[in-house]
Assembly symmetry: C2
């Protein structure tokens, strides 16, 4: 695995790969890798000649009161985990990525203002903009994202289509701990007690799936049940529970076809998100 | 010259060119070509293995009261003019370029709200977004723009740098009619009388250059003189006259280094723009 820190070096490597007809699979990450990330890297490896993983904690996607400074970092561990799976590890500094004062922002309207966008102003613009930058540097044939960040995946798929990026967008299933907790770099913020209590998100998703399987279609009823269920966990504070259209992210009142159930819940001081696709048979 | 209307076909051609190590020069246009455009195409040909010209009248950069519908078109003439100069002519339809309802907009903040941006809301976002789309389709090594649209050039250079587009951005001088009128597709809107009167823009630029050469540095004074001068032409209605920093487009009060003088003037019902760089020796 080659480690590259400079944009111009990465461009040269990419250019030479393209000339040799090699396809590039790309996994953009913020590091502190877990099995969720690694599932993307493995899939990228399976589908492409060369896999590029980037580790870049993007300041532009953190709000002023968010955890940019404290976001977990462990580059040595990340490097070890990627060895044998990844061909090129791209680790640019903030200075390398933001060489001049940036005035350009990519806005994916409507999709970015809903759900997490309501409390995380500017977050998805920061994500879309940095992913566009990375796409322009890495020039991937395919890019891999986790369904864990469901809204992010929808925003980026929309952006890639609207801006004619040539990369195929691949979204892979949530990877979970044994107890059902969705893997996330931010789980490291949880105490053992909180980690156990955080399972309430997964349990809530499962109970919604069961309700739908049993014939429930009224999203208000389902959401109310989940509110009551999650609220029984004292350390849990609900940010939102919503059932939305998979593509437009707009609320649905009656589940007629596949719909996306999303949760954002603070457990202690850590904000967790999780989601599932509710299927109607 | 190969004419391509489909994005997927163009991508395939580009991909095969890249594999053969060919460099691509790109000239995005809205057609109705004049010598200004052709100077870009010739320069692109000189500096690259292959030249791609696009002709696409981008609805997203026209305001609701602007001339999208009446924008001059003459594809047969354009094709004839490009023969021998251009290798690939890309003429996508609006349906091809906007395959789904687009939600993604590129905003180049501050630069887009000044000058022409004050009256043409959303114009530069429309321009930036379509150029990003075209860059993602054509994957140029270099792209060529006219200094005639000075603000557009600044906005696009900022965007390309901020989003790490790999294309080198080349801006070429204004090409003028014999009488000094800057070439523009919209000149076709002018009657012969208006065309003669429209020379007032060029004359104003020249007199500003002379003032600066003679030692004038106070931009207020220069601008006032130009106002008086242009106002003497009855069919001319001034939109703005500004002297700004070449990169930030912010007004300067005293000319200390190179500054950009920009004019927007309605002649009859046609809005014309022109500009010059004021040089301090």
């Amino acid at each position: 695995m080659k480690i590259v820190k400079s944009i111009s070096v990465l461009r040269k490597v990419v250019c030479s790969l393209k000339r040799r007809g090699k396809t590039i699979g790309f996994v953009p990450t913020m590091g502190f890798l877990h099995e969720g990330h690694l599932s993307l890297v493995r899939r990228a490896k399976k589908e492409n000649d060369v896999v590029v993983v980037s580790i870049y904690i993007n300041p532009a996607q953190f709000g002023p009161k968010e955890d940019f400074k404290n976001y977990p970092r462990d580059l040595r561990r990340d490097t070890r985990l990627l060895r044998g799976l990844c061909d090129l590890l791209f680790i640019p500094s903030v200075k390398e990525m933001v060489a001049q004062e940036s005035r350009t922002f990519i806005e994916v309207r409507r999709l970015s203002d809903l759900l997490c966008g309501r409390t995380r102003k500017g977050h998805f613009s920061g994500v879309a903009t940095v992913v566009a930058k990375l796409f322009n540097i890495v020039a991937p044939d395919a890019a891999y994202f986790g369904q864990k960040d469901a809204q992010q995946a929808v925003v980026l798929e929309q952006m890639a289509a609207d801006l004619n990026f040539s990369a195929k967008m691949v979204v892979m299933p949530v990877v979970r701990e044994k107890n059902g907790l969705a893997m996330s770099s931010r789980n490291v913020y949880l105490s053992d007690k909180e980690k156990a209590e955080a399972v309430v998100l997964f349990q809530a998703l499962k109970s919604a799936e069961h309700m739908v399987a049993a014939g429930s279609r009224d999203t208000k009823k389902i959401i109310r049940t989940l509110y009551d269920f999650i609220s029984r966990t004292p350390s849990a504070r609900i940010d939102y529970i919503e059932i939305v259209d998979k593509k437009t992210l707009e609320s649905v009142s009656t589940i007629k076809r596949e719909a996306l159930l999303l949760l954002a819940v603070h457990v202690g001081s850590t904000r967790l998100i999780d989601n599932t696709i509710l299927k109607v048979k």
